[in-house]
Symmetry: C2
């Protein structure tokens, strides 16, 4: 860990503290590229009434907007808490290289957040989850997959 | 499964087919409340250069905007493909009641999407994942969690 790692993590933690003062969730995230902050955010779920507006998701969206690409290869994300499954999924889709975190999902669980529960749910087969899962019309839906697969000018993401 | 289930899934599949024609990913999602479509979207990752713009995420954000709340209890999501971990996480955070899907993550894997790989990665401990995970400054970050925990007027989400 370098001095910069501490610097960027302290920025993420600072965002999490500011967020609580404004009535938001206690989470902050910073995305760094080439040693500079590219994007940053706190949790904005309550401010925006958007259940997806976690700090990491907001920062990823801003970074992608700034670079004008969905591919954030070469970026590092500093998150004041270990990313939840939603944010971790986004980190993989965005091809971020590295995750530095401070608090853990257990810490989040201890103050009432559902991160640990959602990790457990996601690791279960669909039919064993708390939420009801039903499958139908796979054969019809496969037509779109076949069309994509056969498309010659598709952009893979 | 009712006639409406088939109707809404066919709409989600229709969106996935239209998306491929426009050069987008082969995915569509519809959110239904009280038997009516509240929000819908196709995958817009390429169109928006936003790695988080999966059909389900877009539809959840639109539904939350329309209802002006982060809580989508009472809603059902119809997804043309089994949601990826990012979207499934969002479904839990949004408190959606039920998921109806058509294609599976294996089907998505067969045409080159990383859903299955991301499911495997997320179920591993951080230090065993393909992406490097490092922890630092937990004690400092816990201050924000303590501040949230002790806040009397916090809105839990």
């Amino acid at each position: 860990m370098s001095d910069n790692d501490f610097l960027f993590m302290r920025r993420a933690i600072g965002l999490s503290l500011e967020s609580v003062k404004k009535g938001g969730g206690p989470f902050g995230a910073v995305i760094v590229r080439n040693g500079e902050i590219l994007a940053e955010s706190s949790n904005l779920v309550i401010a925006l009434n958007d259940p997806t507006a976690h700090a990491e998701i907001n920062a990823i969206r801003e970074a992608a907007r700034k670079l004008d690409t969905f591919d954030l290869s070469g970026c590092v994300i500093y998150a004041s808490c270990e990313p939840c499954p939603m944010c971790l999924g986004a980190i993989y889709w965005a091809r971020i290289d590295k995750v530095v975190f401070a608090n853990t999902t257990s810490d989040a669980q201890n103050i009432g957040f559902a991160d640990s529960r959602i990790y457990k749910e996601i690791s279960r087969p669909p039919q064993e989850r708390d939420i009801e899962f039903r499958q139908l019309l796979r054969e019809e839906a496969l037509k779109a997959f076949k069309a994509w697969d056969e498309s010659e000018n598709k952009i893979e993401y």
